[in-house]
C-alpha cells in the first residue's frame, strides 16, 4: 500500500512538472530559446494567489483567476520588452537576458514579500479520499493535480491541432521564414505562446504551493529547473514528451526519496536524465535532426 501511495504522489508531482514543462517546451519549440525566467513566473503566480486568498480573504478560484491574468500579462510583457529585441541574435544572449529577468522577478518579490517563507493555504478544499478501509489515503490536492494535468494536456492538444492559432504555432516552430511567407504574424504567434505558457505557470504555481505549502521568492527556481529537465527528458519541443518526461521525473524522484535516499534523490533524477540522453540524444519523443553539409 505504501508503494501505491508513493507512486500516486509521484504522479501528482510529475503532473506539476509536466504543466511547467509545457511552458518550456512550447516556448523552446517556437522561439528556440530557454526561458529561464519561467520558474519565477510560477512563484509570481503563487504570490498572487497568496495575496488574494490569504491577505484579502477572497475565494480560491478567484485567486487562481487573478494569478492567471497577472502571469499572462507578465509573460507577454517580458517577451515584448526583454526577448523580442533579441530575436534572431545568438541564443546565448537571450539565455543571459532570461537569467537577468529571473533575478529581477526574484528580487522584486523579495522586496515586496520579504525572504521569510509564507504559509500557503491550499486552493483545494475538498475532503481527502480514503480507500481500502483507510489503508490508503489520497489527498484531494493530488487528485485535482492529476485531473487538471490531463485536462490541460487534452485542451492544449486540441487547441494546437484544431484552431488557426494552433496551426500557426506549429508552422512557426517548423520553419520561421516559411511561416512569415504564408502570412503568419510570427511576433504575434510567439506572444500568444508566451501567454499560454505563463498562464499554465500560474496554474502550476497554485498546484505546487497547495502540495508544498511554503512560499518564498525562490520557490519557483528548483521546480523550474526540474521541469526543464523533464522537457528535455521527453524531447524538448514535443507536447506529449513534456507529459511523459514530467511524470517519469516525478515518479523517479518520489520513489528514490522513499526507498533509496532523500538526499540523493536529485542526483538519481539527474543520472537517469543523463542515461536517457546518452541512449537517445534528443529525448524520449524528440525528433532526430540530420545535419546537412
Amino acid at each position: 500500500m505504501s508503494f501505491l501511495s508513493y507512486l500516486i504522489n509521484g504522479i501528482s508531482l510529475g503532473s506539476i512538472y509536466a504543466i511547467i514543462a509545457l511552458g518550456y517546451t512550447m516556448v523552446y519549440g517556437i522561439a528556440r530559446m530557454l526561458n529561464f525566467a519561467h520558474g519565477d513566473i510560477i512563484m509570481v503566480g503563487g504570490f498572487a494567489i497568496f495575496t488574494v486568498v490569504s491577505t484579502m480573504g477572497l475565494p480560491p478560484l478567484l485567486g487562481i483567476l487573478v494569478a492567471v491574468v497577472i502571469c499572462t500579462v507578465l509573460g507577454v510583457t517580458i517577451e515584448r520588452v526583454a526577448y523580442r529585441p533579441l530575436r534572431g541574435v545568438s541564443s546565448l544572449a537571450v539565455l543571459i537576458t532570461a537569467i537577468g529577468v529571473s533575478y529581477l522577478l526574484q528580487n522584486v518579490a523579495l522586496l515586496i514579500f520579504g525572504s521569510n517563507a509564507r504559509q500557503f493555504t491550499s486552493v483545494v478544499t475538498l475532503p481527502n479520499l480514503k480507500l481500502a478501509d483507510g489503508a490508503l489515503t489520497i489527498s484531494s490536492v493530488t487528485i485535482v493535480t492529476i485531473v487538471s494535468c490531463i485536462a490541460i494536456m487534452a485542451a492544449l492538444t486540441s487547441f494546437i491541432n484544431k484552431t488557426k492559432i494552433g496551426q500557426a504555432m506549429l508552422a512557426v516552430s517548423e520553419d520561421n521564414g516559411a511561416a512569415t511567407l504564408m502570412g503568419i504574424d510570427v511576433n504575434r504567434t510567439i506572444a500568444i505562446t508566451f501567454a499560454i505558457g505563463s498562464a499554465l505557470a500560474a496554474v502550476a504555481g497554485a498546484l505546487l504551493c497547495s502540495t508544498y505549502p511554503s512560499l518564498t521568492p525562490y520557490t519557483g527556481s528548483m521546480p523550474g529547473i526540474k521541469a526543464f529537465v523533464a522537457a528535455v527528458f521527453g524531447g524538448i519541443g514535443s507536447i506529449p514528451g513534456a507529459l511523459i518526461g514530467g511524470i517519469l521525473l516525478g515518479v523517479i524522484e518520489n520513489l528514490s526519496k522513499a526507498y533509496i535516499s532523500s538526499q540523493l534523490s536529485d542526483a538519481i533524477v539527474f543520472s537517469v536524465l543523463i542515461i536517457v540522453l546518452l541512449v537517445r540524444p534528443t529525448g524520449i519523443l524528440g525528433r532526430k535532426i540530420n545535419e546537412k553539409v
Partner: protein
C-alpha cells in the same frame, strides 16, 4: 593576426593584471583600503579564473556548459581534503597549499575527462542540460559523503559519522552536508594574482597555438574540421578538461579563503555556474580579457551597491538585462553605429574648418 600583434595584445592583458596588483599595493600602503575591499580581492581573482576557464569551453570550443561550478566544487574539496589530511605530515602551509592546488587541478581535470567523454557526444542545449545535471550530481554526492582518518587508514561512508567505524584516534575530515571545517586560510592576494597570471598564460598560449586553432575550427564548422583530419573528440576533450582543471584551481583558492567549506546550492549550485556564464557572455565570447574584466566589474557592482541594501540585486538584474539588450540587440547595434557615424562627421567638419 600576426605574431607581434598577438604578443602585444597578450602583453596588455598581463599588464592589466600586474597593474591592478600594484594599484592594490599602493592603496594598501596609503591607507585607502577598506576591509570590504580587502575581503573581496581573492574572490575577484577566483571569479576571473573561473570566467577565463569557462570561456575556453563556451567561447573557444563553442559548447554551452552549465556545470562549471561542479568542477570548482571537485577542486575545492580535493584540495581542502589534501591540506587537512597532510596537516601533520607536511607542517609547511605554503608547500601544502601549493600541492593542494596541483591536486585540485588534476582531480578536476580527470573529472572533466570522465564527464566529457559521454557529454561531448551531445550537442547544443542538450549538452547544456547534461552539464547542469553533472554539476548538481557532484554537489549532491559531496553532500552525503563522510570520510574519516584514523590509524587504520581512511574510512568512507555515505550515511553518517557513526557508520564510519573509526577507533578513538579517528578524525572526521568530510562531514556530509557540513563539509570540511577548519581549512587553513592560505589564499592570499599575491598567490591569487599569480594563479590568475598562470591561467591567462595557459589559456592565451593555447588559443594562439596549433591546438587552439584546431579547437576553434571545431567551433566554427565541425564537419569541415573533421574533413581536414582534425580529431574532434581529442580536441574537444582537451579543451573541456583544461577548462575543468582551471576551475579546480579556482576551487582550491575558494576553499582556502574561508575556514569552512560546504557544498551549498549558493556556492556550487547551478546558480554559480550561471553567474560564471554571465561573466563570459557579457565579457564577449572568446574574449579572454573581456571575461576577466566582466568578472571583476560584476563582482564589484553588488559590493559597491551595498549601501542600497535590498535594492542592490534588483539594480544588478536591471543592469544585466539592459547591458545584454544594448550589446546584442540588432536595433541597439544599429543605433550605436549611427551615433558613431554622426560623431565622426562632426569631427571631420571641425577638422576642415580648422584647416
Amino acid at each position: 593576426m600576426n605574431k607581434n600583434k598577438v604578443r602585444m595584445q597578450n602583453g596588455i592583458t598581463y599588464g592589466i593584471v600586474a597593474g591592478c596588483w600594484i594599484l592594490v599595493q599602493i592603496m594598501d600602503k596609503t591607507g585607502h583600503m577598506t576591509s570590504l575591499l580587502r575581503g573581496i580581492l581573492v574572490p575577484l581573482c577566483m571569479y576571473s579564473i573561473l570566467a577565463i576557464s569557462l570561456n575556453l569551453t563556451v567561447g573557444i570550443l563553442g559548447e554551452l556548459s552549465l556545470g562549471h561550478a561542479g568542477f570548482m566544487c571537485v577542486g575545492a574539496f580535493s584540495g581542502a581534503f589534501f591540506t587537512k589530511c597532510m596537516e601533520n605530515v607536511l607542517p609547511n602551509l605554503q608547500l601544502r597549499f601549493f600541492l593542494a592546488i596541483l591536486i585540485g587541478a588534476v582531480v578536476a581535470g580527470i573529472c572533466g575527462i570522465l564527464i566529457g567523454i559521454p557529454v561531448l557526444r551531445l550537442k547544443g542545449d542538450y549538452l547544456a542540460i547534461v552539464t547542469l545535471a553533472f554539476g548538481e550530481i557532484i554537489k549532491n554526492l559531496i553532500n552525503v559523503m563522510y570520510i574519516g582518518l584514523d590509524k587504520g587508514g581512511f574510512h568512507f561512508s555515505i550515511k553518517d559519522t557513526m557508520s564510519l567505524g573509526m577507533d578513538e584516534t579517528g578524525v572526521v575530515i568530510i562531514k556530509g552536508a557540513q563539509g570540511i571545517t577548519g581549512t587553513p586560510k592560505a589564499s592570499t592576494f599575491l598567490i591569487a594574482t599569480v594563479l590568475l597570471l598562470i591561467t591567462l598564460f595557459i589559456v592565451l598560449n593555447l588559443i594562439h597555438s596549433r591546438t587552439g586553432r584546431a579547437i576553434m575550427s571545431i567551433r566554427d564548422n565541425r564537419i569541415a574540421a573533421e574533413s581536414i583530419g582534425i580529431n574532434i573528440t581529442k580536441y574537444k576533450l582537451m579543451a573541456f578538461s583544461i577548462s575543468a582543471a582551471l576551475a579546480g584551481v579556482a576551487g582550491v583558492l575558494y576553499a582556502h579563503n574561508l575556514s569552512t567549506l560546504a557544498a551549498t546550492p549558493k556556492n556550487f549550485g547551478y546558480n554559480m555556474s550561471i553567474m560564471i556564464l554571465v561573466f563570459v557572455v557579457l565579457g564577449g565570447l572568446g574574449n579572454i580579457r573581456g571575461s576577466m574584466i566582466a568578472a571583476v566589474v560584476l563582482t564589484l557592482l553588488p559590493e559597491l551597491l551595498r549601501g542600497l541594501n535590498d535594492y542592490r540585486m534588483l539594480i544588478y538584474a536591471v543592469v544585466l538585462i539592459v547591458m545584454m539588450l544594448f550589446n546584442s540587440s540588432p536595433k541597439a547595434i544599429e543605433m550605436r553605429s549611427v551615433l558613431l557615424e554622426r560623431f565622426r562627421k562632426k569631427k571631420d567638419t571641425a577638422a576642415k574648418e580648422a584647416s
